[in-house]
Amino acid sequence: MQSVLDIKNLTVRFATADGEVAAVSDVSLSVGKGECLGIVGESGSGKSQTFMAAMGLLARNGRATGEVMFGYMNLLTAKEQTLNTVRGNKLAMIFQDPMTSLTPHMKVGRQLTEVLVRHCGLNAAAARTAAIEMLGRVRIPEAARRFDMYPHELSGGLRQRVMIAMALLCGPELIIADEPTTALDVTVQAQILALIRSTREEFNTSIILITHDLGVVAGLADRVAVMYAGRIVEIGDVDQIFNAPRHPYTKGLLACTPRLDDPATATLATIPGQPPNLQHLPRGCAYHPRCPYVMDRCRVESPKLLPTGAGQNACFLDDLDVRAAS
């Protein structure tokens, strides 16, 4: 499959008062045309920072190394000016918190049209028509009236629809959605997810869906990458990840998901221990202090992400399986 975004050996470091912290370590992945890739992980696993780096939106103290190819452009080395020709144009991003992600003192309409004027060279009148049409396509009722409203006059769900409309304006090849439903009510979440699914079909856009909600990923993604402590620990088809997870962390995450058919008295499963402190990562595999299958080797050596079955997995258990099989 032709890929839209290719990340190779991406490492993101932040300079802090207590020294350098690697938020993302040696991440490689690619997203195919029209594909939806889910990125799953706890807070601090580096899932957002991976794509903040790709968008050139790292905080001042952040440095990214490696390569992020979008078409023929390496997003990491491109100048801000060059980057601005694709950002918001063919590469768009939707953020977590629609309440604060729109400029409060500008009317919604202006925030949409400025994208069209910038990237598509439309004049004000044409941009207005196109923006109102797009608001309608993301199923905002009374789009023309909403166009002239300020963000605070819209509900959270509507604001997220505006964000999605904004991302779709220039017919993007890839949309990065960073926890698009986290800040919303459950019913609104479902609507927004349905909207993302239908826009994907309608516009044939590739989507990267960053979330900590496995349910969201299960319903939308074709492939899933699981991140832990700044690394991808497992990546594979959505069916494989959910039905036959290989990495102990993936298994742990899935075990934590409450099921409707569990008896009401059942205790919620948890992964013991804490997510690691990125400044003091444990030696060897970052997951080993919490891993029920920990071996001596895990405490000293860091497992590499290697092909296994239909996906890739970073765990020494795979070696044992291979030996057992042969």
Binding site: N84, F95, T100, P104, H105, E114, M163
Partner: protein, 315 residues
Amino acid sequence: MWSYFIRRIVIGIPTLWAIITVCFFLMRLTPGGPFDSEAPVPPEILTNLRASYHLDDPLWQQYFSYLGNLLHGDFGPSFKYRDFTVTELIAQGFPVSLQNGAAALVLAVVIGVFLGIVAALAQNTRRDYAVSAIAMTGIVIPNFIMGHLLILIFGLWLKDSIFQLPAGGWEDGAFANRILPVVCLALPYVAYIARIARGSMIEALHANYIRTARAKGLPFRTVVLRHALTSAMMPVVTFLGPATAFILTGSMVVETIFQIPGIGRYFVQGALNRDYTLVMGVTILSAALVIFMNIVVDMIYSVLDPHVRYDEAAS
């Protein structure tokens, strides 16, 4: 919005009345009187003077007749400048202070906001520290030092160069004569505004919507000027409300140093001379300005921040 504006002005009237009342009685409680001087006035003349200014009437009667005159726009005669009424003194001096103040204000806002943005965009770099240093200097050096410093530099050291400027005097408002006083008046405000603008700009640049604007591929300048600046201006506007009132009513120090016929000097001279009516006049003028500017600030809020609405429908 206009009905709100008018309502606010109407509410301002009792405020102004309260200020007038407090000020009137405070003045009379202060020891000494307008005709006490080092060379004592003969008792007969003093009696006549007091009688002609109605100072022997009961205080409440003086108060009500003063209020009555005020309603007719009459601030009364000055006790010290006996050939003038207070209205005339203010009419002479206020336009001068107003022009200088307005020029200083524009200068302060333009330079201050510019410096603040420059510093915010270069946060914690040398450029930022340089702006902070300039701002601190402007705040720390009092204007009676700054005024003399400016005179020393542009009036004396640069004498006979093209940068020479008049060391003082007004010359009926010649441009060259205005430069130094306006600069001297503006400098502390430049400093305050730069500091406020820097802080609020840094905060605005960290907002989520700035991240959105950058993700849209807008040029950085557009992000700063269109998306960040408006919110960053809120604290500056808050500061500017009362500051405008003060800067427009003139600075006693600056007007004395540069010998400018504004009304700033009347504040202090009036108080020292117990020139009751003059003090009341300038106090009412500046109080009215402060009240008015606060209303203007609230109006500007509603333009900068759409959350702030004064419509009937919203209330």
